[in-house]
Amino acid sequence: MKQFRLVWQSLLQIKGAALLLMIVLTLALFVLTYLIGLIRYQNYSRTLLEQAEINNSVYLKLAVDDNQMAQDMYGTFSAIARTYEEIADWPGIKEIISIYSYGSMKIDGINYQMLVYNDALLRHFSMAVDGRWFPDKPVSVDQPLPIVLGGTGFSDFETGDVLTAEYSRTQKPISLNVYGKVKYPGYTLSLSNGSTIILSDYLLSDQPVILVRDEPSLLSRLDTSDQVMIDRNAWVVFENGLSEQQQGELLTRLGSYGSYHTYEDIITASRESHIEQLKEILPIPLFLFFSAFSCLFSISSLYVMRNAQNQILYFFCGCSRKRMIGILAQGLFMIFLPPALLNLLFILFYPTISQADWLNLHQVVLDGTSVSLVLLFLAVLLVFLLLPALMISRRHTPMQLYRRMSS
């Protein structure tokens, strides 16, 4: 503890610079954290797609007449649903993964979209949850409706909670039982993207959504008609073992319904785009890091120089050479501490903060892994900043330094 006074003394030699160092470090750490989060989101989104086991599939963007949609929304929706049902029955098609909805639920004055998860969706895109994805057997109609919470913004609700919501179509209260909650980062599959380029990044959404299971009793339980709302895009999964020719025919046939991207194309395009994006954004953080590093390095040299005199004095008074370096290292560590703590607290609380929707950076994954990476970075930096001190102490004995400084 008393050594802390010596460490503090060493910091007093570079008061202003130490403050500057803290600020630079804080900024650098946040840039780094964001960068790590971005890269991790890209990998996360791609990995989810790769693990969905839909290798033999295409992302179909059904051509829909927007005028017709504007005039008769529900008619158009049910036409889309019917089209997908037909496609599902084609020989060679295994299943369709689509997302549909029967309206929304209002809880505490906030409207949440309610999405219906069928077996295909659950099989391929059930993200990790706290709790579980619905009960094994359908619960009876007089029990609360089992739901899973997806996306961010549900910090108030926990697994096991029974909530009362207002169902948008009937405006009647309905009781919901939270069976599961999608784990951080909370993303769920989104099929709303119909742009010309389809990347894994945009097939996920962190919008807060209430997920219910598709089962025969659902409509009667909700007390609503079968007026469905459905995404016009869907995954069309082929049977395994189709010949090239059969696949080609299916693709031609699907092509007459709209445009499509094969699963392989999406994965490849995502991978390429992620590399491209990194190439595009990396120069800025790299430049920042370079400036920060040179700033840090010159400050640490200043630190060593300003402290040389006192250090020699410590040496006279019975401080070993190892301990001299130790005092300097602890000084740097003290400078590191506030920015590191600030950053780590931010990362640690980010999942909670983003789940509560106070601050959401979107398409960034920050969690324990980011913490380890930041700590690793700090450790490397600490050694790097100690280099001036280590170099001087290897090359000169304290007495050589003393002679130099006194002449």
Binding site: R5, Y314, G318
Partner: protein, 225 residues
């Protein structure tokens, strides 16, 4: 007791080797007060550094109270400096931004001792050198003589057996220098071994023994009183 036998110290000057001390043998008994004199560049500071366990020698042996110093590692040497030797220097001897008290406590930071005890010890040392009233002052508010008293208090604080002083009065006017030498002599009378490097014969006159070094060799070693 200091016993050195055939000490040699070389400095590397580029490719050339410069012998700063050659074949120095010397015994200093506890309680002696010795002046080390010689021209500039003679090797006084080099000897001071070796006797003070601050620097290594190239050959020879050094026994300090029977302990073999030449074989010791960094940490052991540091412990020896901390416990047995007090230093008084001419230049940057003090931490300017800190209080007198903190400066005097410095050696105790490297000893196992509670902070409270450190303070008591430092105050005691300040009493001995007669500036206890200045404990809370910053050292850069002090006069040259007062600063050197702080340095002596710091050298005393860990009850060392030996005090090594390299030109302790070099930066002082003659009156103040006399007072400082008076103080050092008093410490010697209390039983402390003193080694004093000085150019000034008047200061050397306070000592009982005079060693003269020239070109890294002892050319004179005699009692003066």
């Amino acid at each position: 007791m200091i016993e050195v036998h055939q000490i040699t110290k070389n400095y590397q000057l580029g490719k050339a080797k410069f012998t700063a001390l050659s074949d120095i043998s010397l015994t200093i008994q506890p309680g002696e007060m010795v002046a080390i004199q010689g021209r500039s560049g003679a090797g006084k500071t080099t000897l001071f550094n070796i006797l003070g366990c601050l620097d290594t020698m190239d050959s020879g042996t050094y026994r300090l109270d029977g302990q073999q110093v030449e074989k010791m590692k960094d940490a052991e040497l540091a412990a020896l400096r901390c416990k047995k030797i007090g230093f008084v220097l001419q230049e940057f001897a003090l931490i300017n931004q800190q209080s007198v008290l903190f400066n005097v406590m410095l050696p105790l930071f490297f000893d196992k001792m509670a902070y409270r005890t450190m303070k008591t010890r430092a105050m005691e040392a300040l009493h001995k050198v007669g500036i206890a009233n200045l404990a809370r002052h910053k050292t850069n508010q002090l006069s040259g003589g007062q600063r050197q008293r702080v340095a002596i208090a710091r050298a005393l604080v860990n009850y060392p057996e030996i005090i090594l002083a390299d030109e302790p009065t070099g930066a002082l006017d003659s009156k103040t220098a006399g007072q400082i030498m008076q103080l050092i002599s008093e410490l010697n009378q209390q039983g402390m071994t003193i080694l004093l490097i000085t150019h000034d014969d008047k200061m050397a006159a306070y000592c009982q023994r005079r060693i003269v070094i020239e070109d890294g060799k002892i050319i004179e070693d005699q009692l003066t009183q």
